[in-house]
Amino acid sequence: MSQTASTAPSYFIPQPSTWPIFGSFALLFMALGTTLWMNDVGEGKYVLIAGLCLLFYMMFGWFGTVVRESEGGLYSKRVDVSFRWSMSWFIFSEVMFFAAFFGALFYMRVISVPWLGDLDHKLLWPEFNAAWPVAGPGITERFETIPAFGLPAFNTLLLLTSGVTITLAHWALIANNRPAVVRWMVATIALGVVFLFVQGYEYTHAWRDLNLQLDMGAYGATFYMLTGFHGFHVTIGTIMLIVITVRCAKGHFTPTQHFGFEGVAWYWHFVDVVWLLLFIVVYAM
């Protein structure tokens, strides 16, 4: 059982740690490996995989240490507030990352594509019709888009529902009803996993049957980069949900102190909001 904040020291400074240096080597290997691999040196993938393994080892160990410190009652109210501030700012940085890609979509759709289709450019590309969704004047291949009110709408429903189930899990945690917490968390995870499967199915369908590929100009690039980074964030979020569920099942957290849980919930809601935006501007509009 966790100790309460009242017995923790007001400040917490961790012991010297070797985890960060593992992380640094991990990123160095990943960068070198990816560079080699992208430039047709096949062995690069092994360097990349080595880096990834090191990164997982580091994250497992580092987060494990944090969990032990937390359950050991070392984190005071002040540390809890620090976690809240830092998670909020981290999510803000993620928002700005997505903003760059939404900005690119906006620019292409509203500025560069119509511009390429205007009268001046008729000389260069007489055949080009700048009606969205479009690849670009230099791409003659055709593609189709995924209708919004099929699988994407279903996915929207999944994520919105998962926002409800995680809130129910949170309420159950506050009520100290462990079995209910785990049940609602398992439901949330299941919704996340189904979402990812649907997204995977949709990608396969788009790539093979609709000829919607990454090289399909403005539409292909923004479609895959936005939904791809979102899917990546859902994957990370699902892993975080699984970790938190296991911790709940093990009896971690108390009805009053459970920022680990809340932080993951915040992240999940953030991923949810990004999807809503995506659904509107990528699929529906």
């Binding site: 007001s10 400040y11 992380g23 990352f97 990454l214 690039a221």
Partner: protein
Amino acid sequence: MQATHDHAAGHDHGHAHPTGIMRWITTTNHKDIGTMYLWFSFVMFLVGGVLALLLRTELFQPGMQVVEPEVFNQLTTMHGVIMVFGAIMPAFVGFANWMLPLQIGAPDMAFARMNNWSFWLLPPAAALLVISFFVPGGAAAGGWTLYPPLSIQMGPGMDLAIFALHILGASSIMGSINIVTTILNMRAPGMTLMKMPLFAWTWLITAYLLIAVMPVLAGAITMVLTDRHFDTHFFNAAGGGDPVLFQHIFWFFGHPEVYIMILPAFGIVSEIIPAFARKQLFGYTSMVYATASIAILSFIVWAHHMFTVGMPATAQLFFMFATMLIAVPTGVKVFNWVATMWRGSMTFETPMLFACGFIFVFTMGGFTGLILAITPIDIQLHDTYFVVAHFHYVLVAGSLFALFAGTYYWLPKWTGHMYDETLGKLHFWLSVIFFNVTFFVQHFLGLAGMPRRVPDYALQFADFNMISTIGAFGFGLTQLLFLYVVVKCIRGGAKAADCPWEGARGLEWTVPSPAPYHTFETPPVVR
């Protein structure tokens, strides 16, 4: 309960501490990490400086003498990337690490272990940049702004630069989240926000800017990467994209980035001038608001870097006026510094010399910035040496001079010794003279039409280029004197008092010199 408290507050007194290299690799101490940041940035400063001297050597005379044009482009690019991301930014983070906990009465940064990682991400990134010189095609050569289509056409060196920037960005974001959290949540009782030293305020706002724009840079270079290797068309008109799109995203990051490099400098100068004028800072509140307005305005001026790409006149007008608006809060700051000195009882030790030098020379850089903000003039001066002169006035005489000022100011607190005042003053005078020899003439070169980023030039530019190169070598050698002064101060010298400066105020001067390994384990009470 008491036992737990003692254990965690004095957490490592009873434990075996890693020694030797492992102390530095595993440390969670803000002073150790600050020291590493400062040394790392100084090494990068020397590396970037050597690249700059190679450039100036090639430009000593017209014609091609020393390097091939492709190598010249690589040197230009890497000089920029290394100085911005490897020297100036980490140096300010080093100051933040050392001084913020001392200034706000905290025992350490909010996330001491993540703080370690923020630092230890820098060496791998630096390694990637160094390696990039030796891959086929050489290092990235598109300029530090990495504009497509050049950045899309280059070899693997560009991939390495992109990953280096990703890692540096991750480091900056973690460092900034740490700083914001520390300032917002770790202040000593009674240290209200409006009682904070101005260095803490400027860093709070800088960290906010970093968290907001580093991810945008990450997005931009990720698009370059996918355009390079995964067939996307973000910056290719054939696919409906536009190279100008990159410029928009890059400068949405890039303009706030220049304030990221100057706001902490404002903070340092605002600490030093009151100390040596022996007066309170004039207009503290207006300084805070001016800093915040500069930060907010920095998000709506980015396209002043793009006046020649073919924007609608309305957009040019908007960005011109928005840019000129920034002169108002900046003017407030300069006014306040001068007003602080007014009727002060001033002495001119090295920190004060650098701070005064900062005001003079930075303000000149600010004025050339205003000139460049005016669209019709910028269209004439775009990509000329006038621009090079402008941003070196704000980055070298601005950011770097403030870093020197801060170093001399806090060196007694860091080392416990006084530095050699005579050599310090010599360092200042040589720096300020050689700086102006190097860069003042570049205004004339630019006005006469010499383009930047070229290894060769017309005969008419020969004289000024020769002067500039002589100045650059003088400036570079002078920095070895700085290294000597710092090393000498670390190894010995007159014992520094807890507060060696008569007029200095602030919590950092209440702890012994050198500052003990752990400070403020029991929070001080500020009234």
